[in-house]
Amino acid sequence: MQSSTEGKGVIAMETDRLVDDYLRRLEAAAAHLGRPRRAELVLEIREHIETALREEDAASEAAVRNVLERLGPPEEIVEAVEIPPEETRAGTRRLETAAIVALLVPFLGWLVGAALVMLSRAWSAREKLVGLALLVLALVIPAVGFVIGSSDGVSEPVRVGAPDEPTTSTGDVEVAFMFLVFAIGLPSAVYFAWRLRRETATAA
């Protein structure tokens, strides 16, 4: 297939494509690692490939395939990355737990939870975006519904738990409202907890 008469550019393009594909797979497999760790790993593997090909002195497609095969599947390389215990267990895991619990507490808790999520390094930027978007969505959708629903009588909506409320219907509304308020942080907290479990599972 690749005779010497074939243009050198074609071979170079094919080998570049193989290397690029490999590094992309590595990057994808390492998505759950923190950015510095991922960048370091990809850089080291890239350097390895370049050094290996320089030693081969002919970067033929076969040479590239051999180098990549000796490196092993990118997924296997990422599996060998051990997240240090202080990052997954005692240390930052406490921060992550605090963040998830805080997200379940209305108002001030959401703010604190969001801040802790941003501080944590256990979730990727993408996971943070998705998780916090869930919170904002859960906040906006019922708020819009509430505004539309109570457009006729604008009363103080944050007055929670008044036991001596005379009319039962208003009390029911308030109980439902309370449940709703507590449920707002739930999707986000569940999402973050799920991603955290995945992270520790891969690290183990």
Partner: protein, 121 residues
């Protein structure tokens, strides 16, 4: 035992011991990453895929068993060299002693020499 189980055990054993092989290779002087990786993978049955050594090297660095420095190379870009630290030397010495005991014990049991060894044969 299923053959799969033996494979799994061996892969865990390999995981735990390869890091000391890295330290041992550095005993005689500094080496750069690629060199280390190729030397380890050229030994039969030690490393299944070369790429997995890089995460190991970065862990050894974080644990301060090795230090790294960059050095110019005649062919190509600068290389990252690895050098054993004092802690690395100690860890290697500890492992070497324990490994000799461990290997002797396992060999003795596998060969069925357990009883005779015990009685100081």
């Amino acid at each position: 035992m299923e053959p799969g189980d033996a494979r799994k055990t061996l892969s865990q054993l390999r995981r735990g011991t390869v890091e000391f092989c890295v330290l041992a290779l550095l005993r005689d002087g500094e080496r750069y990453g690629f060199e280390l990786v190729r030397e380890l993978s050229d030994v039969d049955g030690l490393v299944t895929s070369e790429g997995t050594i890089y995460p190991l090297l970065s862990r050894l660095r974080k644990e301060e068993l090795v230090t790294t420095f960059w050095q110019e190379s005649e062919s190509g870009p600068p290389r990252r060299y690895y050098r054993l630290t004092a802690a690395g030397t100690r860890a290697l010495a500890d492992f070497t002693a324990e490994w000799a005991r461990f290997r002797a014990s396992v060999d003795a049991i596998l060969d069925g020499r357990k009883g005779s060894d015990r009685h100081g044969d």
